[in-house]
């Protein structure tokens, strides 16, 4: 065997660097014993390989040493393989990390859907509130409309009443000292109905009421109390009155008018 050719072939390098098969390893072991030049070449190559590996030195995070010292200090049988290998642990840890990611993602989805749910629930509540308000407004508008319609009907009826040819208008003016008062009467001579419009009449004091008198041949006849009046007070008299007057009387009215308390008086034009 040409030992020099063997030394220069690269066979020793392939053994030192772990790329040779068992047969090649066995041959080298044998040649190292037999030939000092092979042994020397082997040692040189080892030195070269060590130097090149040292050239490739990189920084190791300090934490690794601490962890390692903790591992070798633990009272584990040095020969047992029961303890999982650290690299496998690393992979498990990576996989666990993935699970953590998945869990975090799931949690985010849950929170997002909860937030969306709350948002839509609030939107629903707001919309429902708006809908109820609209419904209420609509109802109010309808009621207003009914009121207006009723009012219109009333007014139409009043206009009809007032424009009846049998209706006579009598203006009751304030008596001396009470000239600011004024009342208008619309007297339907055919139906005896009286519609009283209080143009200017003060609010009756508590415990008092206004009373209308029909004056027939100089004598006053009770023509009713001014109560439940809206625009008009509705009264009636079947007398043939020549004049009308209003006095302030006690609540419930009087048999005879209190002349000192007369506010307005008006003649019926014949």
């Amino acid at each position: 065997m040409d030992i020099q050719a063997y030394i220069e072939s690269g066979a020793i390098e392939s053994c030192v660097m772990g790329m040779a098969d068992e047969q090649e390893q066995a041959l080298l072991a044998s040649l190292r014993v037999q030939y000092p030049e092979v042994e020397k070449a082997f040692r040189d190559i080892e030195t070269w390989y060590a130097a090149r590996s040292m050239d490739g030195e990189i920084r190791v995070p300090a934490l690794h040493k601490e962890k390692l010292l903790a591992v070798i200090s633990s009272p584990v049988d040095s020969k047992t393989e029961s303890k999982p290998l650290l690299a496998k642990e690393a992979i498990l840890r990576k996989q666990l990390k993935k699970w953590q990611w998945a869990a975090a993602a799931a949690l985010i989805v849950c929170i997002a859907s909860a937030v969306t749910g709350i948002y839509y629930y609030q939107q629903y509540r707001a919309t429902r509130q708006s809908f109820l308000s609209l419904l209420l407004e609509q109802q109010t508008a309808r009621n207003q409309d009914l009121i207006q319609q009723t009012r219109l009907q009333e007014l139409t009826a009043q206009v009809t009443q007032l424009t009846d040819t049998a209706v006579q208008k009598i203006v009751l003016s304030g008596v001396k000292g009470k000239e600011e008062n004024r009342v208008t009467l619309f007297w339907n001579r055919r139906t005896s109905e009286l519609m009283l419009l209080s143009n200017r009449l003060p609010q009756a004091p508590v415990g008092k009421q206004y009373q209308l008198w029909a004056i027939v041949n100089g004598k006053p006849q009770n023509a009713g109390l001014l109560q439940n009046c809206n625009e008009f007070c509705y009264l009636s008299t079947n007398s043939n009155a020549q004049a009308f007057a209003i006095t302030l009387e006690k609540t419930g009215g009087s048999e005879e008018p209190t002349l000192t308390e007369m506010l307005v008086l008006g003649q019926v034009k014949s």
């Binding site: 390098e13 790329m19 070269w48 040292m54 050239d55 490739g56 030195e57």
Partner: protein, 180 residues
């Protein structure tokens, strides 16, 4: 090597065999960087490479009695353990699965490109870059990916003898590039 060498190799081996933590600490301080460089040239993931390195030192610690100085230097033995542990990691099911799913991994997202490729700018890989493609290719498959000569013969569709010759030629050239 770093610091003042306080141990000869025989002393260091004896210290480790007597379960001396000081000896182990010295071993780590002097060889961890180089071993990590080798592991990182094979295992692309920095975190996994760190765990492989740890595994290497645990194996050295647990198997120091099996170390035979007649067969080679302590460092050569450790380099062989580091290389085979790294290759074992690349072949492990866990690693393969983690590579399939690696798009979900924060390390990959955060540091893509920087930690996910084997180191090419240090050690043997660096010298290897100046070799011809056929030599680079065979060293990559054999040393860094751990394929046997028979497997390489199948991959490259050439006789095993040619693989052996080409590998040895590549190693001889590699050694001539930076002698000593």
């Amino acid at each position: 090597m770093k610091g003042i060498q306080r141990y000869t190799e025989e002393e260091l081996v004896a210290s480790l065999q007597s379960r001396s933590q000081a000896g182990f600490s010295y071993l780590y301080d002097h060889y961890a960087g180089a071993l990590f460089g080798l592991v990182r040239s094979i295992v692309p993931d920095e975190v996994v490479a760190g765990d492989v390195l740890q595994e290497v030192f645990v194996k050295v610690w647990r198997n120091i009695d099996a170390y035979d100085p007649a067969r080679g230097r302590l460092f050569t033995w450790m380099l062989q353990i580091a290389r085979s542990s790294s290759l074992d990691m690349l072949r492990s099911k866990g690693w393969r699965n983690s590579q399939l799913n690696n798009s979900f991994d924060d390390t990959h997202i955060g540091q893509a490109g920087s930690t996910q490729l084997p180191l090419k700018d240090a050690g043997l890989r660096k010298i290897m870059q100046s070799l011809k493609t056929e030599h680079k290719e065979i060293l990559e498959l054999s040393y860094f990916q751990g394929y046997t000569q028979e497997e390489i013969a199948r991959i490259l569709e050439m006789p095993v003898g040619t693989v052996k010759t080409r590998l040895r030629a590549a190693l001889t050239l590699l050694r001539k590039m930076i002698p000593g």
